[in-house]
């Protein structure tokens, strides 16, 4: 019986360890500059999202793992409606036409920003897609994830909730 219990505990530890491997915690470093236009041509910076937890996702329409995780980001937006969470997807080094071609097939309720010359991609030192940064309400990078995930469940949801829990009670 003891052996069975020990096996169960070990399995749980290994499982949670495997899940935790995806997100890389960072020591609250100031985020690089974000300077990009949305699809309507409006200029956006991180200051537009100050006071909110920010999920900043670098993606491209040619990248299958990026497209696989998009629906879960939309479900996350719906699930967290009314909470101070900004989901921002920054398309890396594509034209507006390429981005719009994808968006005509996939309706998303969160803002899409454009980075046609890759300047934001380079400032944030993104070498693989998708790469996602989770910023706290003070604009500091707290977690980085390289590769896709299901954003509305599991570790991803827990990490986002933990950042939201740091906010003063009135803004949660």
């Amino acid at each position: 019986m003891k052996r069975l219990l020990a096996t169960c505990v070990m399995s749980l530890l290994l499982t949670s360890g495997a899940q935790a491997a995806g997100f890389e915690a960072r020591a609250a470093t100031p985020a690089p500059e974000l300077k990009a236009q949305d699809l309507a041509g409006a200029q956006k910076t991180l200051a537009d999202y100050r006071g909110k937890v920010v999920l900043l996702n670098f993606w491209a329409s040619w990248c299958p793992p990026c497209l696989r995780e998009m629906p879960s980001m939309e479900r996350l937006r719906v699930k967290m409606g009314g909470r101070p969470l900004a989901i921002v997807a920054l398309d890396s080094a594509e034209t507006p036409e390429e981005v719009n071609a994808y968006l005509s097939r996939m309706k998303l309720g969160f803002p899409i920003l454009l980075d046609p010359d890759g300047s934001n991609t380079k400032r944030w030192k993104v070498f693989a897609l998708p790469t996602t940064f989770l910023l706290d309400a003070e604009g500091r990078v707290r977690y980085v994830l390289t590769g896709p995930t299901e954003w509305d469940e599991g570790e991803a949801l827990e990490v986002i909730k933990s950042l939201l829990a740091e906010l003063p009670a009135r803004s949660k």
Partner: protein, 233 residues
């Protein structure tokens, strides 16, 4: 007399040892003056690559196709490429140059690492006679988000002509200028071309676009076009 026989025997044994170090490769013979050494990526040789090699040979470009993961029984990982002996590849390059043909190496992805290390191991005069085409080369030591990229130091590439073929639809495309600078700092004469509407490894994608399928079938034409446009004849 016995000494002379022993000397001959040793020479034969030594030549066999050198030949044994040359990695096993497929040869697609042709009569033309060019020899293309095609080094597949860490994912191994794909069928469209074999087809393209056959097509090149049919158009007069002799092609030797090398699959490093198969030749050395390596796992299909980028790190496997770093473990390949540059000396083996340098010997292979010398054997190719000894054919008297104009030798161009074409290496894919992380296979660029052993190829460039082998080029660095050549004598300067041998290196100057060599041209290298690199398809989306991966030369990173570290590529972590929010950190400056760090590239491998490969040795002196002075006199080596390097052309990078970079598919547009790649996370590496914005970083191409830094990679070219790195190669130039090691002495290579660099040039590049962006391959529009294509992704890395487009010839072996699980879900290729129609354009990628079409381009996979005409890789030979793309390579011939690049060889001619580059002027490395």
């Amino acid at each position: 007399m016995r000494f002379f026989r022993l000397l001959l025997l040793s020479a034969w044994a030594c030549s066999f040892a050198v030949r044994a170090a040359v990695p096993d490769h497929q040869v697609f013979p042709a009569q033309g003056p060019q020899l293309l050494l095609w080094v597949a990526s860490e994912r191994g040789r794909a069928e469209p690559e074999v087809h393209a090699a056959q097509q090149l040979a049919a158009q007069g470009v002799e092609t030797w196709s090398l699959d490093l993961v198969a030749a050395y029984f390596l796992p299909q990982l980028p790190s496997s490429m770093d473990a390949v002996s540059p000396q083996d590849l340098a010997d292979w390059l010398r054997v190719a140059q000894a054919s008297g043909k104009r030798v161009v190496v074409y290496a894919v992805a992380r296979a660029a690492v052993p190829v460039l290390r082998a080029a660095a191991a050549l004598e300067p005069a041998e290196r100057e006679r060599l041209c290298v085409m690199l398809m989306y080369p991966n030369l990173y030591t570290v590529a972590e988000p929010l950190a400056e990229p760090d590239f491998l130091v490969l040795g002196s590439l002075s006199g080596l002509r390097v052309r990078v073929l970079q598919p547009r639809r790649s996370a590496a495309t914005p970083w191409l200028p830094g990679l070219l600078d790195h190669l130039a700092k090691q002495g290579a004469a660099t040039s590049h071309v962006i391959l529009e509407n294509l992704r890395e490894g487009y010839w072996a994608r699980e879900t290729p676009t129609e354009f990628e399928i079409a381009e996979s079938r005409r890789m030979d034409a793309m390579l011939l076009r690049e060889l001619n446009a580059w002027g490395c004849k």
